[in-house]
């Protein structure tokens, strides 16, 4: 079964063709460089660029897979969470393809597809603890199948990727912050600087995260230490940011008696994060390939296959509404009980 996957939730336009949920026939991603000068994603620019490039990318994805649009069996599209304007471009294009070709339209959750990305390079057994770490999300989840997932923890303020970007901006390192910080930190063996591990030890936040405090610690440190060593700050920030992800995941693994861990999202490309999780031999940790850590159409098309097999298809497009957040205020409140 061939699925065309369309991903436009943020600033990467991704289109791919995947067979039976695992065979990658093509994977085309256009990363918008325009946001760099703003040190963050500008939603209006992101939407405009998606519209500008998406049809060319679809053409490339089809020719890359050596197929025609009529050969596609279904269209998978990211519907949440993400920037509404960007999601709407992908959803409108996918809906139009679906109606013109008569092929089913499958709604895909962006964060779930990030976790699914790891399955292209690994045989993953259920159940597992899923850790989603990106510029928009920091979530702990429990998975019993590709269509049965529960969110158990989230960030109560900034996401981990956001913290990387903000600290990189603070230190004038460039955007996006994650890869730059990772690269600098790799060259440091030890640091005299230490930032707090924000564990949120209280019972109601057992699986939750917080990154605004860590970011503030960095602000105060560089304000109070004018001769600070940039490499030391970067190394210690990264360690504090990543160590808490590991420790909370281990807590969840113990509580749920699960040893399998799957990590997805842009921050899953971080080399220190990979090192920390893979060095724990009690855990069986799976990562996507580096190429599939960032947003792409492959993960959308792949997961769409399992959703389709489970009857998850958009029969009435009016029932699908793009959503910017994965958790509402009340959802977040419930996760802190």
């Amino acid at each position: 079964m061939l699925i065309l996957g369309i991903e436009t939730s943020c600033d990467d336009t991704g289109v791919a063709v995947v067979g039976d949920g695992y065979k990658i026939l093509s994977n085309i991603v256009f990363s918008q460089e325009e946001h760099k000068k703003f040190s963050g994603v500008v939603p209006e620019i992101a939407s405009r660029k998606h519209l500008e490039y998406i049809h060319n990318l679809i053409e490339k994805a089809l020719s890359g897979a050596n197929i025609l649009l009529s050969d596609i069996d279904a269209v998978g599209v990211t519907v949440k969470p993400g920037l509404i304007g960007s999601l709407l471009v992908g959803l409108s294009v996918a809906s139009t393809i679906s109606y013109l070709t008569g092929k089913p339209l499958i709604p895909v959750n962006h964060i779930e597809s990030h976790i699914y990305a790891a399955s292209f390079d690994n045989n993953i057994d259920f159940p597992f603890i899923g850790l989603i770490v990106s510029g928009g999300h920091t979530l702990l989840t429990v998975w019993n199948s590709w269509v049965d997932k529960k969110i158990i923890g989230t960030t109560i303020d900034d996401s981990v990727g956001e913290a990387f970007d903000k600290v990189a901006k603070l230190l004038d390192l460039g955007y996006p912050g994650g890869p730059i910080i990772d690269k600098i930190a790799k060259g440091v063996k030890e640091s005299s600087v230490s930032f707090p591990l924000v564990m949120l030890n209280n019972k109601e936040d057992r699986y939750n995260f917080s990154y605004s405090g860590l970011k503030t610690s960095v602000v105060y440190y560089i304000r109070n230490n004018r001769e600070y060593n940039k490499e030391d700050v970067v190394y210690s920030f990264q360690k504090a940011a990543i160590d808490v992800l590991y420790k909370k995941t281990v807590i969840a693994c113990k509580d749920f008696n699960i040893n399998n861990v799957v990590i997805g999202g842009g921050v899953a490309a971080n080399s220190y994060l990979r090192e920390v999780f893979l060095s724990d031999k009690k855990l069986k940790t799976f990562f996507p390939s580096i190429k599939l850590c960032t947003d792409n159409g492959v993960m959308v098309a792949g997961l769409a296959y399992y959703l389709y097999k489970n009857g998850i298809v958009i029969n009435d497009p009016k029932s699908i509404e793009p959503v910017d957040k994965i958790l509402t205020y009340n959802d977040k409140k419930a996760l802190r009980k």
């Binding site: 519209l51 500008e52 409108s92």
Partner: protein, 204 residues
Amino acid sequence: MKLVLSSSTDIFCCGIIDNNSNILTSIYVKEKKIQDKILKIIDFIKVLGYEYDSIGIDVGPGGFTGLRIGFSVIKTISFIKKIPVYGAYSLDLIRYNTVSDRVVSGIDGNGRIFLRVYEKENKSDIFDFTITEALKFIEDKKLYDYEFIGNAFLNYSKYFSNLRINDRFYYPTVDSFSKCLVGPYNYEILPYYGRKSQAEELKC
């Protein structure tokens, strides 16, 4: 036959016009949410009993999101059916809702006004004004005896109360398309946003 679509204002319209500019079918959609509007348009296109061999699209200026969503649909149809796309400015589409020779067409651009002046077959550039700038422009150019048409003059009517405003056809209509389409383009056609995003303007 041509499929035409406008999504630059709060009223979306879509229809089929034949080679003699006759309207064979049309729909005007006023739903509150942009997504509901475009889905209603898609539903309309789905059940059309006509085969069309080209498309006309309102390229803007107007609401950014509406324009983008309309373009997402039209570009996809053009891409799949391999048919050409023709474009028309929203201000021109509105201008042709009236037969007057001297017309000022204005579209509400989220607190600002896109404006164009028409004198018989001549037309000005498209201006992007604040309300104060628009009022000054009208005064400086002595446009008081022109007919003013478009949602900008209705949405900000308290500022334009002394003008001769046409309040009937203040949105692009299917009827006007045949008078102002230019092209053809392929599916690479893009909206005329008329201005940069707010973030870009701040950066500049």
